[in-house]
Symmetry: C2
Subunit: 195 residues, 2 copies
């Protein structure tokens, strides 16, 4: 049940079995079917989730169009931080792209954990830092590369997501319209076959 969580945490902090037990005692299991929605805009996001299995899509609506901010995979953590920290309604949606298993910890419990075992505050710090680094990188990509380059970079750095995620979601994540991504792919494959 908690092996993935255990392993994932131990990358950042060392915890005693008793501490880990205390931690897991705060967590509740939740499973989502493919396409099921975990969070809607205007709902409060009250938990941080460890993703034990599966994959989440984090997106928001602009004039009715879904814009994908990020994907989250097994062994990662997800929350809508604005809503979680601020206690205000989220502006974003989250749904499952596959059948997904989550372990959630509520804010109260997390704050208690931070108080009682400061090590976990360190975990929180490190996860926040990593989240920052990730989005920093993505922003740089968006402001630096054109559509084709963004696609090629993703292909190179995270080829596996193309096996799991429909093309139009990837397009959205790259801030490209699905039609445009289709054209880009055609151009690339015709370039390749010429050379």
């Amino acid at each position: 049940m908690f092996e993935n969580l255990q392993k994932s945490i131990s990358r950042f902090i060392q915890v005693e079995p008793s501490e880990f037990d205390f931690f897991t005692s705060c967590m509740s299991f939740r499973s989502l079917k493919k396409k099921e929605i975990l969070l809607r805009a205007d709902q409060n996001c009250r938990s941080i989730y460890f993703i034990n299995k599966g994959c989440l899509r984090y997106y928001y609506l602009v004039d009715g169009e879904e814009k994908t901010a990020q994907f989250f995979f097994e062994n990662g953590w997800f929350t809508d931080l604005d809503s979680f920290l601020g206690g205000m309604p989220a502006e974003n949606f989250v749904d499952a792209l596959e059948d997904t298993e989550l372990l959630g910890i509520e804010k109260n419990d997390l704050m208690k954990l931070y108080e009682e075992i400061p090590k976990f505050e360190r975990l929180g710090r490190i996860l926040a830092e990593n989240a920052y680094l990730g989005i920093r990188q993505k922003t740089k990509t968006l402001t630096t590369l054109n559509a084709e380059q963004r696609y090629l970079q993703l292909m190179k750095e995270r080829p596996k997501i193309f096996e799991r995620i429909p093309q139009h979601y990837i397009a959205s994540y790259l801030n490209i319209k699905p039609q445009s991504l289709s054209r880009i792919r055609r151009q690339i494959s015709s370039k390749k076959s010429k050379s």
Copy 2:
């Protein structure tokens, strides 16, 4: 000397005078003249800086062109997190847009501080969370709004930065070419005078 720092920290954590003294004993003062460079790409960023006074510009080069990622003002914190955490050379530059006063704490000292007074680990967590929220917001803006809307939003939400920062840096921050920002401003002012 440390009043701003004191006040700034107390927004997030409560520290005893002795703890605060221990904290400040780790910090070293540094002042920058306008246009002076704090960090170059390929240097390691070994400190986190509290900005006591002034303003920093955080940017990187793309084909020789400076792209402004962020501005940092008094009472804020700055580091190049990739370099600071990873110990690798930075990919970014930082310079002072005004005469600036910094209080820096080196990584070793910060890690010691985290160990000895876990409260400061909390501060680190909160600052990282806030950094994440800030860049998240910026990314959303970049992917959602067109050039004119980005400019108007900045005007509305942070009008004061226009009094401190040259237009071409603001253009760069908004991911707009300076020529384009100039045109946008003209269009807006002609719209206004018509109505």
